[in-house]
Symmetry: D2
Subunit: 229 residues, 4 copies
């Protein structure tokens, strides 16, 4: 079933089964994934090397979109869920041991996915605009999927949740892993295209196309809010 004609992959090109966006708010949770300084705030480097300057330029479009589109839409969604007393939860990458020995292998590698975010590291904090409130669940994970390495799916089921609205970063990494895990665990998943982001728009659009209709339905912030209202 499709709910729109955007992000249609080869598999669903000739599929003509269309449906409405139907969501039961009482069984739905918003899951904001990895919106932490380390991933979405420009690193502050006193005297950047030429290498670091080049890297900053390469990533600038990502940070710009995070600031202008992704954070505002996550704020909009958080406000809507909170105003309507709907369930909100968060995932963040953070290990338990100072030396990171508890991390899964995909976070102990070198390069981009070398992630050492021990307890107390300010880089691991969720950005203040999206700060968790009161007893909103925040799972700390040492995996990419927010389901594989946490008790989240058990807790959500215990709470009567069968539908998860996913946002956050990075669409092709932790978001994709989480969406796939949730679908395998039989949750209905809605992925919000203007509230999640990959490093580039090309990766973003590709991943939305891969996930859409198979593991989730990709809609935008406004469509989600209208469907629940």
């Amino acid at each position: 079933m499709k709910v729109n004609d955007r992000y249609v992959s080869f598999y669903y090109e000739n599929d003509n089964d269309y449906g409405d966006i139907i969501i039961d708010p009482k069984k739905t949770a918003l899951l904001v994934i990895d919106m932490q300084h380390v991933f979405i705030s420009r690193p502050t480097i006193e005297s950047p090397t030429q290498e670091e300057q080049k890297e900053a330029i390469r990533w600038e479009p990502f940070y710009k979109r995070i600031d202008e589109v992704i954070i505002p839409n996550n704020q909009k969604l958080l406000k809507f869920f909170r105003d309507n007393n709907l369930e909100v939860c968060f995932a963040k990458i953070q290990c338990q041991k100072k030396d990171g020995s508890d991390r899964s292998l995909d976070q102990k590698a070198t390069g981009y996915n070398e992630l050492l975010l021990p307890p107390g590291d300010p880089l691991a904090e969720i950005v203040p605009e999206l700060k968790p409130q009161e007893d909103e669940i925040v799972v700390q994970k040492t995996t990419d999927s927010a389901i594989a390495g946490t008790a989240l799916s058990l807790w959500l089921r215990n709470m009567g949740i069968d539908t998860v609205v996913c946002t956050g970063v990075l669409t092709d990494q932790c978001v994709s892993g989480t969406v796939r895990s949730l679908a395998d665990e039989s949750f209905k998943v809605w992925l919000i295209e203007d509230a999640c982001m990959a490093s580039t728009m090309e990766l973003q659009e590709h991943e939305l196309t891969v996930l859409n209709n198979i593991y989730c339905h990709v809609i935008n912030t406004e469509e989600l809010i209208n469907a629940i209202k």
Copy 2:
């Protein structure tokens, strides 16, 4: 294989395969289970009803053994593991939501296993004598098994741990569930008879007999320390 002749059940009565207590400290973690006020500290009730007084008398032998034997032995084990830079971790029952909606069904029941320990509840605290230090892992669970509802087995494996020394309460409930889960997940398990406790010595001895040789080996604090030293 038996390592001694205590707590031998029907299944192992005629088994004559004896072995030594051999433990590789670098691959071993101490897991202290549910040593929280709610379970092991006498409740303070201003003007107890007759019913509550009767209940206090019924539980008194339990609290006495906790104070005189179980806490001191856990302190001894914690000191030994910390002095030797060995891994220490804790499990505690605590839910994430104020209303306890995230708890598993066996903790939402009425009676003894109605367990509502929301974030910030002082009753959920681990007793000060056994307080976790620095980056020692503390898993919060809404299940009885410390494995079923947490990422602990993943983290332990990531850390190169294949052996777990279990202590805590209650031997026939969360300790038993955790020992069984650990064995099913292929950890070698050592259960410390004078550092864990059920509500009565009869339940304690029965459960040690059921678990011993099948899911773990039951030894005492001194034997464990001597084996590692």
Copy 3:
């Protein structure tokens, strides 16, 4: 909550919250655990040693009760569930590799829980009286808990099952591990006292007392059938 006054442990002695046995058949599955030749059929040994003769005598009361009570009650339950088109599933211990390398550590030990039941081993077969039919689910496990080492809890949830009726052997081992896992996974569990068995009646009664009211409700075959009818 108690549903009767049998098998009451220390924890529930003074609990006066009584309820009825209420079961929604459409959300209920019968789970028959490990009723395999290796566990419940007398071993056929051509010329038994004195040791083996002694062992046969020691186990005779177990086999007698299996034959006279446990198998007939499991047959009664299977017939009732099948006649009413209710869900039936089975667990059995069986590894995938001839050499048993895929078994969890608690099944690679020596003594009673050295369990090498490779594919094709007739000893691993479920006894003919209780043979699975058509598309009844049979999970093969290399663990004691039928939940820890299989996809069963996922499949049951996918099928809309939230209640499991447990029977089989051994009450203090695989049955207990499965009941505890199911409760932690938020299934309602009913354990049928005259359709499950430990090696001795003493172990049987003790384990029923430990599990009852905490992880399940212990009732008998007739009570279960009457509650669903």
Copy 4:
């Protein structure tokens, strides 16, 4: 770390940490994913509608590459692993219940991922060229990830396996989900670019780029065999 310069995504463009392909064969298993008739054999339709003819043309390049490249390379890998007594395992999509009620939600949808492959369905068979032998593990899954809905990760760990070589279909769906799950479970993963396939080469190349260096290393059949020899 990169092992070559192919399939490099934005994240690893400027990464200069190169390493060799180092694989310990004794700790390595080959995992062949979903090479079943339903996915990789042209459907035989007696009198195809115009719609079905169009669909056949659209998929023809996929089937061609399966026949000419993917099956031969899987055969090569299977022969190499078997000749060297290395571990081989398979995953296949197959539900347990005739009506498919046990399937996860992402396999109960309409369109491409409506997958009803009940017991005995010949379409669910692994193609004869790649037929599992003797006690090679074959996990039946109702999920996309071969890890999420099976006991495979437990069995592999029990067998001392810490490295998995992945092949099969579809690279962007079950293969990607499995690779991500394996990485989260701390397995080292090698994905064989000329032994796995998505529906189109564009999806194939994109998914390899997304997964490479983050969740696995993408190499080809020859490189894998040379590294182990």
